[in-house]
Symmetry: C2
Subunit: 290 residues, 2 copies
């Protein structure tokens, strides 16, 4: 698949990032590196890089920002998995960060990854001396914050054991999962100097893709294969959480995934550019088994 | 005291920041606002503002950055107080964030404040269109990260119940407390366009002040008044932690505080500017009872 061309670059960048970090605080680097490198589809950095490549060729120049986005994603997983939150022991078939390092270090590893992502982005802004870079990084930072991912997580926590409205469910996921997926795409377009119509179309694409991604996640939580997912299924049911399946039923969810995917592909085509890689990712997310 | 002239401005800025935030995620704003507004000496934003005012008059223009620095400080306190970390119930005489809101929300409130600080800094960089702003914000961001405050916290956690070398103890505090105090001062100088000699002197001042601050904290932990401190004394002894008192003894610590304070005042004078407010803060930190 063309879309995976850049996955090796991202994986290597992430693998090497904390290498040769030593000293008194070695543990924090080990624990951050552990969660960053236990696998993962790298969807967000791939979306970032392929969106950027619609407008510019120099992908290596922006690998740092792609890596920063994956760090933000990883920090959120580490904190979500904590006993005080979702209390999950397994992630990608491996012990979660707090199972391996303990709760205190897992909290700090999450903090450290979020902070490191910001360090990387500020450093990029210094070196590029570009106002577009500042705008792109600001967009990413906002998507992760209390009006973005954290808003989604707080609604998720407060909704446990309760029936919530479909409107609130959609709101939750648009923030928890959607915000960073959308930001990966939109920030790349901003950074690459896309015009406002292009940014708007890509933002709509990102929003629909984020929703399709979450519905598919809920579907896999019911009918997925634990060994492929690397985590337990039926986690929402066990925690008595509302999700798209409890609201719409399995069949309707699968239909909606297909419909959203089609709309995503239409939006990409309307850009009039070579969007093959993004189309591949979009379809891959629909047909994935993990 | 001249140095407190700007405290009201900071307090008001912090009080108003999350006001009128509502919606599904109201709890996260309430909990962030709670910890941000249960008092505090506002040392770091004051150091930032008074350093800036050595070079520029328009303090209102940079209140946002001062507030962002206090948010980073507050996030670190919320996470440090968690049961998995220092497990403290009281902070400034009030219930800590997790006692009031529960562990999950306290973790997210910390995450949210760190993230909001970054949002504010990126927004400031967009609006000011200034490379000095990007450099100043980058300096603040790095001071909070895994090579800064988080390094100090990880060494602190790993040292619990162990005797550690004086070198490691100094390293720990230079990161845990020193990094953000130094950054508040240095970032203000960078932002205000100070020259490299001035920045160097102020950086040395910040490093010595941070060390004096921490030694004084250790002294107060032994001989302080709980009602004035708003937290329990002898916390290090009860947690079997090394500190400056266990290493040097009380008398030597008090001597070192005075010596460092004198060196700080000398450094300020060597700038040849009206440093009265910074001198006041420096002396206040030496003589404080909380």
């Amino acid at each position: 698949m063309k879309a995976l061309k850049y996955k090796d670059s991202i994986d290597k960048w992430l693998e090497n990032y904390f290498i040769s970090k030593d000293g008194y605080e070695k543990t924090i680097y080990d624990s951050m590196s552990y969660s960053l490198n236990i696998g993962g589809k790298r969807i967000r950095p791939l979306l970032f890089l392929y969106t950027y490549s619609l407008f510019k060729d120099e992908i290596d120049d922006v690998l740092d920002i792609a890596g920063a986005i994956e760090m933000i994603h990883t920090y959120s997983l580490i904190h979500d998995d904590l006993p005080a939150m979702d209390d999950d022991d397994l992630r990608r078939g491996m012990p979660t960060n707090h199972i391996k390092y303990g709760d205190a270090i897992a909290i700090l590893a999450g903090d450290g990854l979020l902070n490191e992502a910001m360090n990387i982005m500020f450093q990029y802004c210094i070196e590029s001396e570009s106002q577009l870079a500042v705008k792109a990084c600001s967009y990413i930072s906002k998507s992760a914050g209390a009006a973005g991912m954290i808003a989604g997580q707080i609604v998720d926590i407060e909704s446990e054991g309760k029936k919530i409205s479909i409107e609130k469910l959609k709101y939750m996921h648009s923030k928890k999962t959607g915000a960073l997926i959308n930001a990966a795409i939109v920030s790349a377009a901003i950074l690459a100097g896309a015009d406002s119509t292009e940014i708007e179309k890509l933002s709509e694409y990102g929003t629909k893709l984020g929703l399709a991604f979450q519905i598919k996640d809920d579907v896999l939580d019911v009918i997925g294969d634990e060994s492929k997912l690397g985590k337990k299924t039926l986690s929402d049911e066990n925690k008595n959480k509302s999700n798209f399946i409890t609201e719409y039923g399995l069949e309707e969810c699968e239909k909606q995934c297909i419909k959203l995917t089609e709309e995503c592909l239409e939006l990409l085509k309307s850009l009039g550019k070579d969007t093959e890689a993004l189309e591949d990712i979009t379809k891959y997310l629909l047909y994935r088994e993990s």
